[in-house]
Symmetry: C2
C-alpha cells in the first residue's frame, strides 16, 4: 500500500487525461463517478497544492481575457509515473463498515418487527437507487449508439480544450457503462438479500 491518501491519486488520474482546475475536477467527479467516488473542496484544494509542492503537477493562472481568476493544474512526467505506479500496484480491500448490517445484527434479540421495518426501508432505498442507475444506463447506451449525446456527460468526454477522437469517446462511454454496471449488480444483490430476509425472518 502506498502511504499516500487516495485523493492524491484520484486527482493525478484525472489530470493524466488533461489539465484541469479544482472546480473542473469536482464537477467531473460529481457527474461521472459519484456512484463510487466523491471529493470535496476541503480536501481537493489542499491536495492540489501538495501535488504541486511534490512536483507531480504544475499550477498556472488561466488568464483568458474577460474570464475570472482560475488556476489550471497540469500533470508532470513525475506525476504520470506516480499515477502509473498506483494503477498497477495491488489494490487493498477497503475497510468495511456497514451500518445497516450492524443494526441488523445488534437488533437480533429485539422484536422481529423492528428488524423487518429496517430491512424494508433499506430495500426501498435500494430500489430507488436502482431506478436512477437504470436511467443513467439508458442515457449512456443511447450515447454509445450515437442516437443522441446528452450534454451532462460532455465534461467527461472533453473537459477543457482537448477533444477526444470518436474511437476514444466510444471507449470512454463503454468504461462508464461498465462502472455503472458494477453499481447495478451490487444493488441487485442487496435487494435480493432483502427479499430473502423478509421471507425467512418472521419464523
Amino acid at each position: 500500500m502506498s502511504g499516500r491518501k487516495k485523493t492524491h491519486f484520484a486527482i493525478l488520474g484525472l489530470l493524466s487525461w488533461q489539465p484541469m482546475s479544482g472546480y473542473d475536477i469536482k464537477k467531473m467527479v460529481e457527474i461521472g463517478i459519484s456512484h463510487f467516488w466523491n471529493e470535496n473542496y476541503g480536501n481537493l484544494y489542499p491536495t492540489l497544492d501538495q501535488l504541486v509542492q511534490d512536483g507531480f503537477a504544475t499550477k498556472t493562472e488561466d488568464a483568458s481575457s474577460g474570464k475570472r481568476k482560475r488556476y489550471v493544474y497540469e500533470i508532470t512526467p513525475e506525476g504520470q509515473n506516480e499515477f502509473m505506479r498506483w494503477v498497477q500496484e495491488p489494490t487493498s480491500a477497503p475497510v468495511v463498515r456497514n451500518e445497516m448490517q450492524l443494526k441488523f445484527f445488534l437488533a437480533s434479540r429485539l422484536p422481529t418487527r423492528i428488524n423487518l421495518k429496517n430491512i424494508q426501508s433499506y430495500q426501498a432505498q435500494q430500489l430507488q437507487q436502482l431506478a436512477e442507475y437504470r436511467s443513467s444506463e439508458t442515457i449512456l447506451r443511447a450515447a454509445l449508439e450515437e442516437k443522441e449525446f446528452p450534454k451532462e456527460i460532455e465534461p467527461l468526454l472533453n473537459a477543457g480544450h482537448v477533444r477526444l477522437s470518436r474511437k476514444q469517446k466510444h471507449r470512454q462511454l463503454k468504461v462508464l457503462l461498465l462502472s455503472l454496471r458494477h453499481g447495478i449488480l451490487a444493488i441487485e444483490a442487496r435487494i435480493q438479500w432483502c427479499k430473502e430476509v423478509i421471507e425467512v425472518l418472521p419464523d
Copy 2:
C-alpha cells in the same frame, strides 16, 4: 442522522446483550462480524470511557480471585434507550469510495491489458473471500442443525456468564447466517461483474 460516532452505537448494542470488557467486545467483533464491521482498541477504550461519562454505561472492576485486572462495562437504562433510538432511526447510506472502481475508470485511456490485469486480481481476491465465507456458512449451518457446535462461535452465543436459551441461540445463529448471506451475495455480484468485464473489455 445522529451526531454521534458509530463506535458509540456498536458498543452500546453489544452491551445491550450482556456486560462485557473492552477486550470481550473486540473479540466478539472479530469473530462474529468482521466481514461487515471492525473496531480497534485505540477507538474502543476511549469510547467506552465516554459512554460512562455520558451515563450510558457503568464501569466495574471485575475482581474474581486469581484473575488479573479487568473492567466490565454494563449498559444503563439511558444507554438502552439510546441504543433503541439508534436502531429505529433511518440509516444513512455510507459514503462510497471504491478504489478498485476508481482505478478501472481512471485507467480507461491506458492500454487495456493494465485494466484487465487489475480486474483479474480483483476477481481472484473475491473468489478467495467467497470460499472463506462459504466455509463459515457451512459451520454455522451445521451448528444450527446441532450436528456440532464449534467453540469459535461460543462467545457470540454467550460472552460472559449469561447463557442463551436454546431458542435464543437458534435465532442468533440464524441472524449470523443471514449476515453472512449478505456478504456472499455482494461478493457473487462482484465476481459476476469481473466476468462480464473480462468478456467485453478487449474489443
